[in-house]
């Protein structure tokens, strides 16, 4: 009797949370495919009048294609550098013993306490001095800088799980530390590297405030910034808004689906923020 009750509680809690998680997304999806005259109606399932008009409008009347491209360029290039530079640092921290290693580790860990928002004004001033304002390079640079600590700590966690004998054997076979890392350790650490890349991609794709302050011209806007001005209008076109939100979340959800297998071990490896 008691056991049945326990099982029932479990099922109802899990079901409630599932519905609560899904419903907002489902509702946004329904709104995005409603015909223009019906956007504000409350139908709880797809309707006979369903249409992709709201999506079409985004690409025909607004430059959403450009925004997606910008976001992809920024997120992918920043993440590649983040993983590369992070891997180098992680390798040193995982494999070498040296003086003041714990102090250097602290330099990485303390960054977790520093809010990224603090950097908005200083980075604007810095980038204006080197004439990079309003370019995608500015964003890429800032995102690399901001992401490196987490990537280093996370990758270090992965590298520590790989037996050091592996690269020591490579060293005996004539590799130096650098080639040992990229020829021997890299392939073994690939799941961790992929997880780090995807995590970084998601963070860059979703970043709003830096992009808002550093980018001014419409042709260089990233997706969230474009969304921000899109809804800045006097009335809200809920159908268009819903469609653009759906498009905005597709890349990260896809990335996430690729990664969900490593998620629990991956994120906890570096106990990261975000």
């Amino acid at each position: 009797m008691f056991k049945v009750f326990g099982k029932l509680t479990k099922i109802s809690i899990l079901t409630f949370w599932l519905i609560f998680t899904i419903f907002p997304l489902y509702w946004m999806f329904l709104t995005s495919i409603r015909a223009k005259t019906e956007t504000t109606k409350h139908f709880y399932y797809p309707h006979g009048n369903s249409t992709l008009d709201s999506y079409r409008k985004l690409f025909e009347q607004y430059a959403f294609g450009t925004y997606i491209k910008n976001s992809l360029v920024v997120s992918i290039s920043a993440s590649i550098f983040v993983v590369f530079i992070g891997l180098l640092g992680a390798y040193a921290l995982a494999r070498y013993r040296f003086k003041s290693k714990s102090q250097i580790m602290l330099v990485f860990l303390i960054t977790q306490m520093i809010p990224g928002l603090i950097a908005l004004a200083p980075l604007y001033l810095l980038l204006s001095r080197i004439n990079l304002l309003n370019t995608l390079y500015a964003l890429i640079l800032c995102y690399i800088g901001g992401m490196i600590p987490f990537a280093t700590v996370m990758l270090r966690g992965f590298l520590q799980r790989i037996p050091p004998d592996l690269d020591e054997a490579a060293l005996i076979d004539g590799c130096n530390r650098f080639t040992a890392l990229f020829r021997v350790v890299f392939p073994v650490a690939l799941p961790g590297i992929a997880a780090t890349f995807i995590f970084s991609f998601v963070q860059c794709w979703n970043e709003l405030f830096l992009a808002m302050i550093l980018i001014d011209s419409d042709s260089n806007k990233t997706y969230p910034v474009a969304m921000r001005s899109f809804i800045g209008a006097y009335y809200i076109d809920w159908g268009g808004l819903a469609a653009s939100v759906m498009i905005g979340i597709i890349p990260t959800v896809l990335m996430f689906a690729l990664m969900s297998k490593f998620m629990v071990s991956g994120l906890s490896a570096g106990i990261v923020k975000g």
Partner: protein, 307 residues
């Protein structure tokens, strides 16, 4: 916790008397971190003592503590502090509790548990700002589906002014934040739970412990260090997470749903008052730093008194 991390790091790895090798590997990361994370902290400290308004650049000068005074004397300051405390504590309480319960349930695999896990982890991948927009649509006073459902079920007899009344709006943004943040705790706690040795749990059950006793006497003490650390990181993170608020209310109505960090963004991007914004940023950093020290001391003291 940090000390134990370093010990693990020292145990493995090859001895190297050469300092240059690891330094070369670390150099790119250290340079970028210095420029993009540590330099802004010092620059912020510098800016916070200046009259620095973007629209009035001819008049940039040192103005002492004027920016800080402006913040403390702001009409909305008290409300914003209250909101920040509420935002952090209420969100955190529900995120931890719900996250813990779900992680406990997911510990033992069941049919479709992989799929279930995949679905409830989705919010983690989404942009806080876009999620704010989704919740804004759901909470909309007149057209929102939530009022529609509540009216339909006769829970309420007139629409709740979710986003136009300051207190309801605060509740709304916190609900959205709970929705968003539970995933993090499920992931972290699930990972921690997988580290609890099965034999320990089995032994305690053999000894006649009830489920609750096993949970509170065995499991929670075992994962305590992880819990302490992730809760601290999360407090810092939630304090600096204005994205949902920006999507839902932009701090409105009448600045009544601002928290410290959304107020900071407002000062930097809309008001373009960077002196005041920097002072506020410094204030947030100081609060979090002092809080972290007390938090770590308190959790350590508690542990020592147990022994």
């Amino acid at each position: 916790m940090q000390n134990s991390l370093f010990k693990v790091a020292r145990k493995d790895g090859k001895k190297s008397k050469n300092f240059l090798g690891p330094l070369l590997f670390l150099l790119p990361a250290l340079i970028l971190i210095s420029i993009f994370i540590y330099y802004p902290v010092f620059k912020t400290a510098d800016l916070s003592f200046q009259n620095f308004k973007l629209y009035d650049q001819g008049n940039i000068k040192f103005n002492g503590l004027e920016n800080f005074r402006g913040i403390f004397q702001d009409l909305h300051f008290k409300r914003i502090i209250q909101n920040t405390v509420l935002w952090v504590t209420v969100s955190l309480f529900f995120q931890v509790t719900i996250g813990f319960i779900i992680a406990l349930y997911l510990r033992n695999r069941f049919k479709f548990s992989g799929l279930y896990q995949g679905i409830i982890f989705i919010p983690w991948a989404l942009s806080g700002f876009l999620m704010g927009l989704i919740w804004k649509w759901i909470f909309d006073d007149n057209l929102g589906v939530l009022n529609n459902i509540l009216l339909g079920w006769n829970v309420i007899d007139k629409p709740i002014p979710w986003l136009s009344n300051a207190n309801w709006a605060m509740a709304a943004v916190i609900i959205a934040n709970i929705w968003y943040g539970v995933t993090f705790f499920v992931i972290m706690i699930l990972a921690a739970l997988q580290g609890v040795p099965k034999e320990m749990i089995e032994a305690s059950e053999l000894d006649g412990c009830s489920r609750a006793q096993t949970l509170f006497r065995i499991i929670i003490p075992y994962i305590r260090p992880t819990l302490i650390l992730i809760i601290l990181l999360r407090i810092i993170w939630i304090t600096n997470f204005p994205d949902i608020i920006f999507g839902m209310t932009s701090g409105g109505p009448n600045e009544q749903t601002h928290i410290l960090s959304s107020w900071l963004v407002q000062k930097i991007t809309y008001d373009q008052d960077w002196g005041s914004g920097s002072a506020l940023a410094l204030l947030i950093l100081a609060i979090l730093f002092i809080f972290s020290i007390f938090y770590l001391l308190a959790t350590r003291l508690e542990k020592e008194s147990e022994v």
